[in-house]
């Protein structure tokens, strides 16, 4: 029986990892291509949640889950065009400062527009409750999130590995100078990557709004976990981030099963141990421009 309980935590951790993945994958992509650590990533997650709550009131749950990430992706385009673009070749400390500042501006902006009190949001009645498969309990709503994450993941993988767009992006990660020598401007690709990245973060926010508290600082809460996932997974690696996200979800679940009070600390201990053995992360590639 004990083993069954543990297995249930492992499966639940995998589902949770899928949600971390939505936020971490974009963060990793933006860093890999642009060399910018986007500390404002959490702000887009929060915006995605707030917009989805607003849109749900008028158009319902389904449209909100689509429109909110799209709207945030548009915002991401402006963010890339007018802010991020100036910092690709600058000292990394500058991009850290500007995105950190932007994260604070965004949090205060949310406070001004929507107020400091949390917004109220619920799961649509169809997705309420749980499904029991064998001996395992699943939240119906989280299964929906799992399906969406799997679809998004497949889409991003195909985009990166099976299209000419993806080839340029991957080449741009490793050898931007060579890509430029071939007469390809990386900038439009970067715009697209940022839109994709922040759009995914917003989707994470939109889908999590009904089951977590929607408040101005929610972005700051998620960004730390997303960073841990990116660092564990290793930069520039698609599968590294995937494995790291799932691992973080599972390790947290197992720790809570045995030592509940250490649940939140466990993911940092995991990061520490992995960095001891593999300083570049699980599947991190050697990227010349960062060496």
């Amino acid at each position: 029986m004990e083993f069954g309980f543990l297995l249930e935590q492992v499966v639940n951790g995998l589902v949770l990892g899928g949600y971390y993945l939505l936020i971490a994958l974009g963060l990793s992509l933006i860093f890999s291509v642009g060399g910018v650590v986007n500390l404002a990533h959490g702000a887009f997650y929060a915006l995605g949640a707030y917009l989805s709550v607003e849109i749900t009131q008028y158009l319902g749950f389904g449209p909100a889950m689509v429109l909110s990430p799209l709207a945030v992706a548009m915002l991401g385009m402006l963010f890339e065009r007018f802010i991020l673009r100036r910092f690709y070749t600058a000292d990394p400390i500058l991009s850290l400062l500007v995105t950190f500042g932007l994260a604070m501006v965004a949090e205060q902006a949310i406070r001004i527009v929507w107020g400091a009190a949390p917004l109220s949001a619920s799961i649509p009645p169809v997705f309420r409750g749980s499904v029991i498969v064998g001996d395992f309990l699943f939240s119906r709503y989280r299964l929906l999130i799992l399906v969406v994450v799997a679809a998004v993941l497949l889409g991003v993988w195909l985009l990166l590995h099976k299209t000419s767009f993806g080839r340029v992006v991957r080449a741009g990660i490793q050898r931007p100078d060579m890509v430029a020598a071939l007469g390809i401007r990386l900038q439009p690709y970067m715009t697209a990557i940022v839109m994709l990245g922040v759009g995914m973060a917003a989707m994470g926010g939109a889908f999590f709004a009904p089951i977590t508290i929607v408040h101005p600082a929610m972005g700051a809460e998620i960004i730390t976990v997303a960073f841990v996932v990116v660092v564990i997974g290793g930069l520039g690696s698609f599968w590294g981030v995937v494995i790291a996200a799932l691992l973080v979800g599972v390790v947290r679940g197992i720790t809570i099963h045995f030592v509940p009070a250490a649940g939140e600390a466990s993911i940092y201990i995991l990061m520490f141990l992995i960095l001891l053995v593999r300083p570049r992360g699980l599947l991190g590639e050697r990227i010349e421009k960062f060496e």
């Binding site: 799961i123 409750g129 749980s130 989280r142 508290i213 809570i256």
Partner: protein, 412 residues
């Protein structure tokens, strides 16, 4: 002999330094100078939403008092800041006393931050009206002469809900599973809950400590399901409660859920149909008391939404402070302490007046259990809670729900 004179010298030096810190700036303040009050409350972090209401409440009281002529003919000037965390709270409190020249300190919701500000008050021998933190320990083993506590402590909340559970036959021989916020307040609440279970035949079969920044409760919910309790009980705080309520509804576990701490802002944020069970509160805006209704109407007119219990408590606290200053014609620490310790009664917009008990400085007042209104019964999105009858009942003394001298180790 030489040592003695050195010590005298040090004392004299300290006296001069003290006088220059406290005395000299005071020379600058004439009779018509504003009375400065330092207000600290968490505006960020897991209690930030509550702190935002607290600020609205104290601002409204400040405005009303100033419009009606101020205190002793002087206007109030409230400096209100984010207390951030226990260390920053203490630093800011000290700065407010040293540099901003505030007469008294007020505020707080976070029990850990309240504790560090209490220490600053004690060290500086200045008054701190601790408004919103609920840990028993603050008015128990950590109590001090300079601090007065307004909000209901953990034990009162446990008693309010516990008595309702006993009445509903949800206590004797029932198996309880509790989730506890992993900081001073949660630990305190868990201790109070455990003694109530022990005294009334409830059985505690599991208790999990939950870090204050946890947003995902799914692993805890799985453990609860494995333990198969009769009742799930929350000893959580702030955002934690909202997250738990939302995810408890998401997983749809069959066990009834109750809690020993909830602020209405957390309940409002839970979303339609997610909240259930019995919870405690110190005040709710649908209260029938006429003075409370006037306050609610004015607050809505000003802010476009009803006041949360932290807006109410900040409002009545500043009114109590103003009353004390007016009555003693002073902002002096000793005179104010004397006034409160006299067990002077205050109108706190409730059915019965409140007073600070002299030996532990805790405000004696009514508390209420509440349940959740059924679907379609709420008049608007704020009107979601059904307030139970005030405890203690009209024939009992207000102190009957508070900690007794045997239970409370406070000595000043």
């Amino acid at each position: 002999m030489a040592r003695y004179s050195r010590r005298t010298l040090l004392k004299a030096g300290a006296a001069v330094a003290g006088a220059s810190a406290i005395g000299f700036p005071a020379i600058g303040y004439g009779q018509n100078e504003k009375i400065k009050i330092g207000h600290l409350t968490p505006l960020t972090g897991f209690l930030g939403a509550l702190g935002a209401y607290a600020q609205l409440g104290i601002r409204m009281a400040e405005e009303e008092i100033n419009k009606s002529g101020g205190v002793m003919g002087r206007q109030l000037d409230i400096t209100s800041e984010d207390s951030v965390n226990p260390a920053t709270a203490a630093t800011k409190a000290q700065r407010m006393l040293d540099q901003d020249g505030v007469a008294v300190l007020m505020g707080e919701i976070n029990s850990a931050s309240a504790l560090t500000i209490m220490q600053v008050a004690d060290r500086n021998k200045r008054l701190f009206m601790q408004i919103g933190a609920r840990s028993d320990a603050l008015r128990g083993k950590n109590c001090n002469k300079y601090t007065f506590h307004v909000d209901i402590p953990s034990t009162v909340m446990v008693n309010a809900v516990g008595k309702a559970l006993v009445r509903d036959k949800m206590m004797k021989d029932k198996k309880f599973y509790t989730l506890t916020a992993d900081y001073i307040f949660g630990h305190d609440l868990a201790r109070a809950a455990k003694s109530f279970f022990d005294a009334n035949g409830g059985k505690l079969i599991g208790d999990e400590l939950v870090a204050t920044d946890v947003t995902d409760f799914s692993p805890y919910l799985l453990k609860i399901r494995q333990a198969r309790p009769d009742v799930v009980c929350s000893n959580l705080a702030g955002n934690q409660v909202t997250n738990l309520i939302k995810q408890y509804a998401e997983f749809g576990l069959p066990y009834p859920i109750v809690g020993f701490n909830l602020n209405t802002a957390d309940a409002w944020a839970a979303g339609d149909g997610n909240l259930s069970g019995t919870w405690p509160t110190v005040w709710y805006h649908t209260s029938d008391v006429p003075s409370s209704k006037t306050f609610v109407a004015n607050f809505i007119k000003k802010n476009g939404k009803p006041p949360e219990n932290h807006a109410w408590i900040e409002y009545v606290s500043l009114k109590m402070m103003a009353q004390a200053m007016n009555a003693t014609k002073s902002t002096g620490t000793d005179k104010l302490i004397g006034y409160f310790e006299n067990e002077t009664e205050f109108d706190i917009l409730k059915g019965r007046k409140g007073y600070f008990r002299s030996w532990d400085h805790q405000l004696m007042q009514e508390a209420y259990p509440f349940t959740v209104k059924g679907k379609g019964q709420a008049r608007d999105k704020w009107d979601t809670l059904e307030l139970g009858a005030a405890i203690p009942g009209p024939s009992e003394s207000l102190a009957s729900i508070a900690l007794t001298k045997e239970q409370n180790p406070c000595s000043m």
